[in-house]
């Protein structure tokens, strides 16, 4: 066979291959798998009774490189509006509060739970992580995170290493993260356990405050058999610094009636009762154990997890989470979700406080907060997710969930008339999410 110089190597080879195989092949159709993976979602979280509403846009963008290395970039934008409990208790009459800014006041009608409606914010969070294999069985991940909202700034770094053993059936991992946050409250941070003052009086306020958090986590993942994979983690979280919520107060009450002590507002207006800003310890150590099992049953996957958390604020919590992925054909699935949560209250959780100026009254505790999130409560989440694969291989899903939280105040904290009022109103929320995952 003579080779004409004008013909390309490829064309000559194609002709020779046809002769060799005796067939004309179909043309090749191959492409490198997309290098960019976008995981985007829009989420709405809404609490009932004009409480918090959060609209959130999120994108997780992954850029793949050769040798299993990848960069993951995250961006989240949240818009929060609505009202949140101020920490004060209900009264039979209307109550007036100074706004956190100190620039005005608001009135809570008689018998209603005091909510601070000045709560609205936009949060932007960014993260970047680099992941790469190290050696044959190792995987190293290092990253940084940043978030900013009006009164809060977070800066964090994290690193994690995972190592496979036992023919990749066992993975041990260890991670550490460090974050430095600063709070710059609207109107300044109030002196702990100081009184809510008249409009325009910021004599008990100072500037921004900081806190540091170190998290350490060690974990093991074990493939038990082709159908069952289990995981267990232990994590330790140590927070130091300003851990108060600068906007939360407690009502100071009469030791017999349990009603809020009245106060005469100044000319500019001010609180109608005595309210003290909360104070929490400046350290918190949390331990948590997390276990998870995923079981594959002929196409369906059951995912069960349990978390136990305990801390030196004496909050103990238990979370059980159940998910069941139920395929409908090869391109669609339904996933019911149930989550149960229960926690005990912090040792310094108080519904209300005694009068610090009463010489015969009980002494003021060193730490006190009536933040409902530090109280004794149970919560249940029930939801359903429906996911499908589009014609071009992208994934979409919609998720709808209901959240219900019911709290109880320890009986020994309820004084006089407080027994006739709902001091821990139920919280109901709805969560709706649409996710779209695509490649480029």
């Amino acid at each position: 066979m003579t080779i004409s110089k004008e013909r390309s190597v490829t064309a000559t080879l194609a002709a020779a291959t046809c002769t060799l195989l005796g067939t004309v092949p179909a043309p090749v159709d191959a492409q490198e798998e997309p290098k960019w993976d976008f995981n985007t979602s829009v989420l709405y979280y809404g609490e009932d009774g004009d409480r918090v509403q959060d609209a959130s846009l999120k994108a997780l963008i992954r850029r793949m490189f050769v040798d299993d290395r990848y960069l993951t970039l995250g961006i989240t934008v949240d818009t929060l509006t609505g009202a949140t409990p101020s920490g004060a208790i209900r009264q039979d009459g209307a109550q007036t509060f100074t706004r956190p800014s100190g620039n005005g006041s608001y009135v809570v009608p008689a018998g209603e739970h005091p909510l601070d409606d000045t709560f609205h914010d936009t949060r932007v969070a960014l993260s970047a992580n680099w992941t790469q294999p190290t050696g044959r069985a190792g995987l190293f991940d290092v990253g940084t995170s940043f978030s900013k909202e009006y009164d809060y700034t977070h800066l964090g770094v994290n690193a994690r290493y995972a190592h496979d053993f036992n023919k990749r059936n066992t993975t041990l991992s260890a991670g550490i993260s460090f974050s430095q946050d600063s709070v710059d409250p609207v109107g300044g941070s109030p002196r702990p356990l100081s009184e809510m003052l008249d409009v325009g009086d910021i004599s008990n306020r100072s500037g921004s405050e900081d806190k540091d958090i170190i998290d350490v986590v060690v974990g093991i993942t074990q493939v038990i058999n082709p159908k069952l994979i289990v995981q267990a983690n232990y994590s330790l979280s140590q927070s130091d610094g300003y851990l108060n919520n600068p906007y939360k107060v407690l009502s100071v009450v009469d030791p017999i009636t349990g009603d809020t002590l009245a106060r005469t507002p100044g000319i500019e207006g001010g609180p109608s009762g005595i309210f003290l800003f909360e104070n929490r310890p400046d350290t918190r150590t949390q331990h948590s154990i997390y276990t998870q099992a995923k079981y594959y049953m002929g196409g369906k996957v059951l995912d069960v997890s349990y978390r136990y958390m305990t801390d030196d604020w004496e909050i103990d919590s238990h979370t059980v989470d159940l998910r069941y992925r139920w395929p409908l054909g090869s391109e669609k699935y339904l996933e019911p979700h149930l989550r149960f949560y229960t926690q005990s209250e912090a040792e310094f959780y108080r519904l209300s406080l005694p009068d610090p100026n009463d010489p015969n009254g009980a002494p003021l505790p060193a730490y006190a907060s009536s933040d409902y999130r530090l109280g004794n409560f149970d919560a249940i989440t029930a939801g359903l997710k429906y996911g499908w694969t589009t014609k071009n291989g992208n994934e979409m899903s919609v998720r709808l969930e209901w959240y219900r939280q019911t709290g109880t105040i320890p009986a020994d904290q309820i004084i006089g008339n407080q027994a006739n009022r709902d001091n821990y109103p139920d919280l109901n929320a709805v969560i709706a999410q649409f996710s779209y995952r695509f490649d480029l």
Binding site: S8, T19, L20, L21, P27, D29, Q31, V66
Partner: protein, 275 residues
């Protein structure tokens, strides 16, 4: 074939899958038995031990020899099925045992297709020379297997003969067959290729080399010099209509050394090089 081979097929039943696997395995073993240089009962053995006498070959062998001639000419004499004897002096075991130049020179007169007389169907080769169809056989076997599967009306299937693979068509319920190309680390993925039609091969083996005085000697030998091709990519992955085309192009690219990427680009080949 000296490497793991697999058939992935969408056969609906175990029996059907077993029948198809049997069909593929029989053909692959037939080709291996017929063209392996490690056996003493086949056509390659007869050619290599003919000691200067002419050997008449069958149609299939003649087809492969014709094909080898085309490759020899296309590659500027670098793709040469008589180059196998160089293995007597080169062993790429990661050591520093680079052969002496005299030893390489000594064996070079046993290498070179130009010393062979090929008058279809008779091949006459000087005594001491050997042919080795190992550089074509695996790819040829994969394509033959795909043709047999098509002829048997098999459902979408993928044949993988030690990393040289071909598909009979796109999978029925997914976008494509996903093929991971192994990186330097065993078990790691260099990249993922989505293959719907055609074939994919990778030439180069990062674990086969010699290292002496800081110089790395890759395992791709240039039969015109007897020495490893300098500056060859660590691996070349090529997508083409058939496994045979893909395999030959990736080998030819390796033989171009520094010019591998330029060659592939000029030829408009869908390929992925690793340096």
């Amino acid at each position: 074939m000296g490497s793991p081979c697999e058939l992935i097929t969408e056969a609906g039943s175990r029996d059907r899958a077993r029948d198809l696997a049997r069909l593929v395995a029989d053909e692959v073993w037939r080709i291996e038995d017929k063209f392996s240089r490690y056996r003493d009962d086949n056509i390659v053995h007869r050619i290599n031990t003919a000691a200067g006498r002419g050997v008449e070959v069958d149609e299939e062998t003649a087809g492969l020899l014709d094909f080898a001639v085309t490759l020899y000419e296309l590659s500027d004499r670098k793709f040469d099925i008589t180059s196998g004897v160089l293995r007597a002096v080169w062993r790429f075991d990661g050591s520093d045992r680079v052969p002496e130049p005299e030893a390489v020179r000594g064996i070079l007169d046993k290498v070179g297709w130009d010393k062979v007389s090929w008058q279809r169907p008779v091949l006459t080769m000087p005594a001491g020379m050997e042919i080795d169809l190992g550089g074509i056989g695996k790819e040829y076997a994969a394509d033959r297997a795909i043709n047999l599967l098509r002829a048997a009306g098999a459902p979408p299937s993928l044949v993988n003969l030690g990393g040289d693979l071909a598909v009979s068509g796109p999978p029925s319920n997914r976008r494509a067959w996903k093929v991971a190309i192994e990186g330097d680390l065993e078990g790691s993925h260099d990249r993922l290729i989505e293959l719907r039609q055609g074939a994919l091969t990778t030439s180069g083996d990062a674990r086969r080399y010699l290292l002496r005085k800081g110089v790395r000697y890759g395992h791709i030998l240039d039969p015109t010099t007897g020495w490893p091709v300098p500056d060859a990519p660590r691996s070349v992955t090529v997508a083409a209509d058939t496994c045979t085309q893909a395999g030959m192009i990736s080998t030819m690219a390796m033989l171009r050394g520094q010019g591998a990427e330029q060659f592939l680009a000029e030829e408009g080949i869908q390929s992925w090089c690793r340096r």
